[in-house]
């Protein structure tokens, strides 16, 4: 929290948050494009998500008569919390004042708050699909969130800090060491990221098949700018997990000061890292099939187990040596 009075840091934090929101649809478009290429399709252009959002923002929002204020407030809350969670993560530079205000536990808390309202909005319409989606989403997150917390705790314990900026700087300063705990935590976090962002094999973002959808079932009744906010929040969430994995486990290249050259390198580095991660995601989505819902707990238990192993291998093998 040393730099929270530095105005330059605040300006960087703000620009970074805007960049996060602006770049998120591009990442989604890139994943889709790589996936299409892998499946021998030409796929949509990279600008397509922006066009979709623009179109939706211009449309009238239809709100069912059964709903209450929760349904109308939820898109705003979901977007705000996801965006604020993204603002905590160092994207291009470390030493963010926002990372001092809210540490990694608050980040998980923000995501949970958004999900809480997302699930409530699903139930607010009073349809069977909404409740179904909410119930499934809460099940998946109930099992994924502990795994995520444990994975980040492992890293936080190594760095002796839950502040993401400090964690990243600690990893940078300690050089390239192969820690078993980091490997476990990395795999756990990747599994969690896939589950939490509703990708294959847990959920399929491209389908509206009634019986299998999770995220889509909750936002089924949304339209217009409400839908746009929900979609955008989902895009930001994907990028958030991508940046979290990229910068915590492979922080090399991230800027540690505000000089132009460092920031330029940082920008380039994160772009490359995200491109790579997106390719990995697209490949895994192409080769895997969606699981039955009740296989998902096994998948998530694996994530929890890996995270726990990471934590234990840290406290047993690495502490005090």
């Amino acid at each position: 929290m040393a730099d929270y009075l530095n105005p330059a840091a605040w300006i960087f934090a703000f620009i970074q948050a805007l960049l996060f929101a602006a770049a998120a649809p591009l990442l989604v478009a890139w994943v889709r494009r790589v996936k299409s290429r892998l499946q021998n399709r030409s796929g949509p252009e990279l600008m397509q998500p922006y066009r979709d959002l623009y179109k939706l923002f211009g449309k009238q929002a239809m709100v069912s008569q059964n709903t209450s204020i929760i349904f109308r407030a939820a898109p705003y809350i979901v977007f705000c919390t996801t965006w604020l969670a993204a603002a905590i993560i160092p994207l291009v530079v470390t030493q963010l004042p926002t990372a001092a205000i809210a540490d990694v536990i608050v980040l998980v808390g923000f995501l949970a708050l958004g999900r809480f309202f997302l699930a409530l909005a699903g139930m607010d319409v009073g349809t069977a699909f909404g409740g179904m989606g909410s119930s499934r989403e809460m099940l998946i997150s109930a099992l994924a969130e502990p795994a995520m917390l444990l994975a980040v705790f492992t890293v936080a314990m190594t760095a002796h800090s839950t502040n993401l900026s400090s964690v990243i700087e600690h990893v940078l300063n300690s050089g390239i060491i192969l820690r078993p705990s980091y490997l476990f935590a990395l795999f756990a976090l990747m599994l969690v990221a896939v589950a939490e962002t509703g990708r294959i094999p847990i959920d399929n973002p491209a389908t509206h098949l009634e019986l299998t959808m999770v995220h889509e079932a909750m936002i089924l009744e949304y339209s217009g700018r409400h839908l746009a906010l929900m979609e955008w929040a989902a895009h930001i969430k994907l990028m958030l997990y991508g940046v979290l994995i990229a910068n915590v486990f492979f922080p090399w290249g991230i800027a540690t000061n505000f000089s132009t050259s460092a920031v330029a390198i940082g920008l380039l580095a994160i772009t490359l890292k995200l491109i790579l991660l997106a390719i990995i995601l697209a490949i895994s989505e192409t080769v895997l099939a969606k699981m039955r819902l009740f296989r998902a707990p096994q998948y998530l238990n694996l994530a929890l187990l890996l995270a726990l192993l990471g934590m234990l291998s840290h406290v047993i093998l690495e502490v005090g040596t």
Partner: protein, 665 residues
């Protein structure tokens, strides 16, 4: 002066109990006088408690009551002051809520006087427990609390289930009381006195200290509702009137926490880390089992009662961490755990009372306890709905509300496990942190279910469709607690600075760093390790929201409100097509199936299909039935003596007499 104010509080609340004697002749007396006196007394309690806490000193006196050689000692120190104020806050909310709520009972079969008398005595009992400074007065006050709450649980005794719940409560309250008494007995046998200051000064051999700890942990744990000693809690709390449930769940369980803290951190002297491990394991299991069983309930108040088991577990996780760290010589970290536990104690009192009052308001206006029959209440009871939502967010430990701060502090304590030398301890603490994380997310699952089913969607029955908003007093009480939930969520630094005097008095160490960086920053260990700027988080949410609406509101078409739900193009849904509470929690029932005792039956008769599902607590089969069976068996053996022959009975008497005489001489 502070102590006089405390006496005043107790006497005024006692007055409220006395005046209620006449409530049967004059039903309005309860509303106009008894609750007003409760309110006055509770304000005095808050003032005296808070001023003790802020002054950081302690006040003691000896009262001319009690046994001839053992007068009652009272003492108000920071720890007592904290719990005194906590009881005061919830009692104040009750005094606002009660007048509207008890109207329902004015035309009932049960006498109103019973409700008024025992409510007053119950609160007096709790206040006396907290300020007691000798074991004798502590036990007398403890019994007053237990007995008077028994009468409140049994208030609506026309239903057999309620009588059964009340009996179970009485039985377990006394087993726990007995165990605590034995624990004090062990201490007293070494010091030769019941007064706390002598107990505190006496050194006890490690073995006997462990025995005393085990006895009191059992006793206080049973009263607090730790698994597997929780069986009475989900039975007793739901059957009492709702404002009493709020008092029992919000405050009475905390009095047990008080007793545990007083005993362990104050009277027993040196803490062994092994005790901490035991507490940590039991607490983690309690937290997880509490929330899992809560998910299976669809009686609103029973569900909330199981969440008390969960939250007591979280409080004891903090205490267990504190004991482990203190037992291994990390005093400052131990203090952090203690502060986290105390913070969660306060938070749980606030949001659980809020939720019970909300549940009471729902039951008051719809006469429905079953979640499966509710729905759409937010439109019918907008204020209660808003306050209940705040309660749900707080209990689910989501920022920026209060539940999050205390769980954050607990996590921060657990994350310091790397400082311990012992590898086993370093392993156990992360495991309990994992269980705490799982508990938190499952709590969110459960409260999405509660709020989504009860307050959102369409009403599932006619009387719920006709529900109306409750009266001003009832709304005010909920509103006050909701505001406090938010305040303690965004201004934690002030509060932590104030309760810092508790560990300073108890163990001589405070947390120097926690509020060292100004009122905006909560920095439990130091600024580099972790910081949380709670007010800034709230500001950030507000700014983000403002920016968003500013961008979106300009020149956009209005929202259309009166369309039918789309529902993937199926026919217009009616209320019976909504997801039910049972369906909502079905995935959990399946994933954690081994932990429940599930009895599911589908009956097909001609064209109707009946689905019956009962989920019961495994604790009954595992712990209680064997004990009950053993008692039964023993009783049968003893009954062999009952031959019906007078001569043999006389022989038994003679034999007993001889044995006793032999024992005495």
């Amino acid at each position: 002066m502070t102590l006089q104010l405390a006496y005043f509080a107790i006497l005024v609340i006692l007055g409220s109990a006395l005046i209620s004697v006449f409530a049967d002749q004059m039903p309005s007396l309860l509303r106009t006088a008894a609750f007003v006196l409760l309110g006055v007394g509770s304000i005095a309690a808050i003032v005296s408690g808070v001023s003790t806490l802020i002054s950081g000193s302690s006040f003691s006196a000896t009262l001319p009551f009690g046994l001839p050689w053992l007068n009652w000692h009272v003492r108000l120190d920071a720890l007592s002051g904290f719990f005194f104020a906590l009881i005061g806050v919830i009692t104040f909310a009750i005094s606002l809520y009660g007048p509207g709520y008890v109207r329902e009972f004015e035309h009932g079969k049960q006498p109103l006087s019973v409700l008024g008398i025992f409510t007053g005595l119950f609160i007096v009992g709790m206040l006396l427990v907290v300020i007691a400074d000798d074991a004798f007065m502590f036990m007398v006050a403890w019994e007053l609390m237990s007995l008077s709450s028994y009468f409140l649980v049994a208030y609506q005794h026309d239903r057999a289930a309620n009588r059964r719940a009340a009996f179970l409560y009485l039985l377990m309250a006394h087993v726990s009381g007995l165990s605590i008494l034995l624990g004090f007995g062990v201490l007293a046998s070494f010091s030769g006195s019941f007064a706390f200051d002598i107990l505190r000064a006496t050194e006890i051999p490690a073995l006997w200290a462990t025995i005393a700890f085990t006895l009191t942990f059992f006793g206080f744990g049973m009263k607090a509702g730790l698994v597997p000693l929780h069986a009475w809690l989900p039975e007793a709390h739901p059957v009492a009137p709702s404002h009493i449930s709020a008092l029992m769940s919000g405050v009475m369980l905390k009095v047990a926490v008080y007793g545990f803290i007083r005993m362990t951190f104050d009277l027993l002297g040196d803490i062994h880390w092994g005790w901490g491990v035991a507490v940590l394991i039991i607490a983690s299991v309690s937290a997880l089992m509490g929330v899992l069983y809560a998910l299976m309930q669809h009686n609103l108040k029973r569900l909330l009662a199981y969440h008390s088991v969960e939250n007591i577990g979280i409080i004891f996780i903090g205490l267990g961490l504190a004991m482990v760290f203190m037992g291994t010589g990390h005093k400052v970290l131990g203090v952090l755990g203690l502060i986290a536990a105390l913070y969660h104690t306060l938070n749980h009192a606030l949001f659980k009372s809020l939720l019970f009052l909300g549940a009471g308001a729902v039951i008051h206006s719809s006469h429905e306890k079953d979640l499966e029959q509710m729905g759409g209440l937010l439109k019918r009871m907008p204020w209660t709905g808003l306050f209940f939502l705040i309660g749900c967010i707080s209990i689910s430990a989501l920022p920026p509300f209060n539940g999050f701060v205390s769980e954050w502090l607990t996590f921060q304590t657990a994350l310091q496990a790397w400082k311990l030398e012992n590898g086993i301890l370093r392993t156990i603490i992360p495991l309990s942190a994992a269980m705490l994380a799982l508990t938190g997310t499952l709590a969110a699952y459960c409260f999405v279910k509660v709020y989504g089913i009860a307050f959102l969607g369409l009403p599932r029955s006619r009387h719920v469709r006709r529900a109306r908003e409750v009266g001003m007093g009832m709304r005010l009480a909920q509103g006050m607690l909701a505001v406090l939930c938010l305040l303690f969520g965004i201004l934690p630094t002030h509060f932590v600075g104030v309760i810092n005097s508790i560990p300073i008095q108890l163990v001589g160490v405070g947390l120097p760093e926690i509020s060292a960086h100004g009122w905006m920053w909560l920095t439990p260990i130091n600024a580099d390790t972790a910081s949380y700027g709670a007010p800034l988080v709230l500001i950030a949410i507000a700014v983000a929201w403002f920016l968003l609406t500013l961008v979106l509101r300009r020149g956009k078409k209005h929202t259309v409100h009166d369309c039918e739900p789309w529902d993937c193009g199926f026919s217009t849904p009616d209320s019976r097509m909504q997801y039910t509470a049972t369906a909502f929690s079905m995935p959990i029932r399946r994933v954690f199936g081994l932990l429940f005792h599930i009895d599911e039956q589908v009956e097909r008769n001609n064209n109707t299909i009946k689905h019956r599902l009962t989920v019961t607590d495994r604790a009954w089969d595992l712990f209680y039935k064997p004990i009950a069976d053993a008692v039964h068996k023993a009783a049968r053996q003893v009954s062999r003596m009952q031959s019906g022959n007078v001569r043999i009975y006389l022989g038994w008497s003679l034999g007993t007499l001889l044995v006793l005489l032999w024992l005495i001489t």
